[in-house]
Symmetry: C2
Subunit: 450 residues, 2 copies
């Protein structure tokens, strides 16, 4: 059964489309019965994973898969610095923020010291990135008196009731809010030489005007500063400046969703927005923050928080517990001690350069782009028309999975390979990625011909 | 500075009202600077906690506080079964639900086996109770095509944008949604002999009619089956039946918010709704589920989930990771192995009986009620009028804190002592609670006279 929904999701397992091994089929059946119809799996042949170790995920038969997709275990799966911090703290205390505790304050000091932008004065903690964006939206509504939200056309910001209404990548079967406006993502590859920074500014201005015309006061422009689900669009730097000015002029807040670009992944800065020379009113963060421990949060300016803080006391039972804070502190320590921002830049470049070379032999590669440990590889039907090749992309993803390299795809056309390795990926492992991609592109091309 | 907001919150620390020790004052100042204005502390003299052990919380000087308030560490702080499960799993794997993994399926089987109500067929996992209620509300909207929500007058269901709109206990400075209706809590003590089950049914029916009169289709009745923040109102059992029938007749869902009553706290069943002989469409759970590890979720009927599952794929990056599932499994094992449901009944009764005896000597005690490890003690200005004594309640709470017993208050009048000890509380520890309460009531009464 293939529903619209399965097709909405990039790289979804679609029941019945491929033959899966009997043991896997039995596990999927058990899972469907227990977890119900809302859960999805990835890949034509879903993976059963039992162990993680550095950049590797391991199945019950001991097959090792190079995981260049999960940006949660950003220091590598089960990094000892984090697991030891968790084990130490979990035996001591894990209680809530209605008592005083030092660990949360240390974490706040450390995180605030990563933003030279001193306007960002306060840290609030949540358990998930969705909660961080949800609370950021509540704060924006209180601060601005508005409800209007502007996001990019294939954005994903989370699954809560409020946030899913401005997460168009969930697909056409999840309604956007009447107070939500989409703007085209700044796709340099498809811009035909136009100034996409100027175009993005104009589009945001038009969205603001349209909200106002409908009597909706703008509350926020929310942007992932690397436009991950829009297709990984890091260039040009500075692109956000005009749009941020526009939303601020209109009385709205600028919220930088750093759930994906944050914690050094760009190889240039700790946070993606810093590449654009803008100062957000709120910075949300999540996924890699605890290297797997559920911890997320936001930084906000005193101005953004003042009214909200007076009227809406904030309490999140598990958020800010000492175990999650200890895990997040260990992540910050490790990024610093292992020099992972610089490392992400170095190995990320090796990866991009290697894939760019493949473009000499593989016509399907329309564009290779990225920054640090973000790489987007846009696959097209032909280079002149730049028409997305979704089917080819899906086959490459699944071929690579079968050959032991785990990635997925993104973008409106579902045709951009989405490569987000752990920051600790080695040059040798980057080599494996390049070779495996090379083989997959060749194999899939000959299948197509055959 | 005392704002309306501080007064909205039961037992909030109010800056400047009492002299706190210099070390504490410095920590509060540092915290305010780092975490900003939305966070609150408890007690006149906030506590600095560094360690937890069983029913005890411990400050930096080694003072021990008997914690009869936090229903998260329901097995006792840092229970070894849970911390060992976490430490074992965190070194092995903690990845997401887009791969197959056994632990989440074991957890689903175990949780589903706690509900003889076979209609409840599926488990979905979140990280927090707020997320569970938020997703439950999304499911209810898709299932019913409605948005209307009915909750009790002092309910708390969470902090997300959607859920805070139906959490009136956040105070008058957080707006309720236009699609939200409040019904009076079933306060037996104030009912003057009326049939409160019938009254509650009538109130819910009136709320449904009012929603419809405003063109709002009812989506759900959401109720904490012990009415914890409304003042701990466990009696009479069966009370919910008429209201549940009414919402189902109106096409809405019944959502049992078991974040507080769940996991055996009532000493009678695993879940609070089971005391009322009703079958929810959705059961949400959280706080004690991982004994401190951020894990929460919901059980739902196949009927409630069918449409949502088709249209709205569900993914929550951290929810369902193997570490959280392992913690939740260890909690279920421990409840069973230590016989904690029965234990909660036994020691809970000792606690209630002891406090009921105090009523012979303390006129302020208007009512003592509860079930299992839930005890509500309603303090009144005089027994005839039953007028809430908020000030006295606050003084008792703070006096007990100073004497090493941690509890708080609840209910619309902020005058009900809210006692939710860990399920492992011993009879001896129950004795400490009773003695300390006795002393506090005497001391506070003589202060009042003096």
């Amino acid at each position: 059964m293939t529903s619209t929904t399965d097709l909405n999701m990039v790289n979804a397992y679609i029941p019945g489309r491929a033959n899966v091994a009997p043991a896997t089929a039995a596990l999927i059946e058990r899972r469907d019965a227990l977890l119900g119809p809302a859960y999805r799996l990835m890949y034509e042949h879903p993976l059963h994973i039992v162990r993680g170790e550095g950049a590797w995920l391991i199945d019950p038969e001991g097959h090792r898969y190079l995981d260049i997709y999960n940006n949660v275990a950003s220091l590598g799966h089960c990094h000892p610095a984090v697991t030891e911090a968790i084990c130490r703290q979990v035996k001591t205390l894990a209680t809530n923020t209605r008592y005083l505790h030092d660990t949360i304050l240390e974490l706040a000091e450390r995180l605030l010291s990563t933003v030279p932008e001193t306007e960002l004065a306060h840290l609030m903690l949540t358990c998930t990135g969705s909660e961080a964006n949800d609370v950021a939206y509540r704060i924006a509504q209180v601060r601005t008196g508005g409800t209007g939200v502007i996001v990019t056309e294939t954005a994903y910001h989370g699954f809560t009731d409020a946030v899913s209404k401005f997460s168009p990548s969930l697909g056409v079967t999840v309604d956007l809010g009447a107070h939500v406006r989409l703007v085209p993502a700044p796709r340099l590859y498809h811009a035909d030489g136009a100034d996409i920074s100027e175009r993005f500014t104009r589009d945001v201005e038009a969205a603001i005007a349209d909200l106002k015309r409908h009597g909706i006061k703008p509350a926020a422009l929310i942007v992932d500063s690397v436009f991950t689900s829009d297709g990984i669009l890091p260039e040009p730097t500075g692109l956000l400046r005009g749009a941020v000015d526009a939303i601020k002029r209109a009385g709205g807040l600028f919220i930088a969703d750093e759930v994906q670009p944050g914690f050094g992944r760009t190889g240039e800065h700790m946070w993606g927005f810093q590449r654009h020379g803008v100062v957000p009113d709120i910075v949300t963060m999540g996924k890699p923050m605890g290297n797997g421990q559920p911890v997320a949060g936001l930084l906000a300016t005193a101005d953004a928080l003042a009214e909200f803080g007076k009227n809406s006391r904030y309490f999140n039972t598990f958020a800010g517990n000492a175990v999650s804070c200890a895990a997040a502190l260990a992540v910050l320590d490790t990024i610093e001690q292992e020099g992972l921002v610089q490392h992400a830049a170095t190995v990320g470049k090796i990866l991009r350069d290697g894939i760019s070379e493949l473009a000499n032999r593989h016509e399907a590669i329309g564009d290779v782009r990225g920054v640090g440990m973000f790489v987007g590889v846009e696959l097209v039907a032909d280079r002149a028309s730049r028409v997305p090749d979704r089917e080819l992309t899906t086959r490459v993803v699944n071929r690579m999975r079968d050959n032991g390299v785990l990635l997925s795809a993104c973008a409106m056309g579902h045709n951009v390979l989405k490569i987000r390795p752990p920051l600790v990926l080695t040059a040798e492992q980057a080599g494996i990625v390049i070779e495996t991609l090379d083989e997959a592109l060749s194999a899939v091309r000959s299948e197509k011909r055959g």
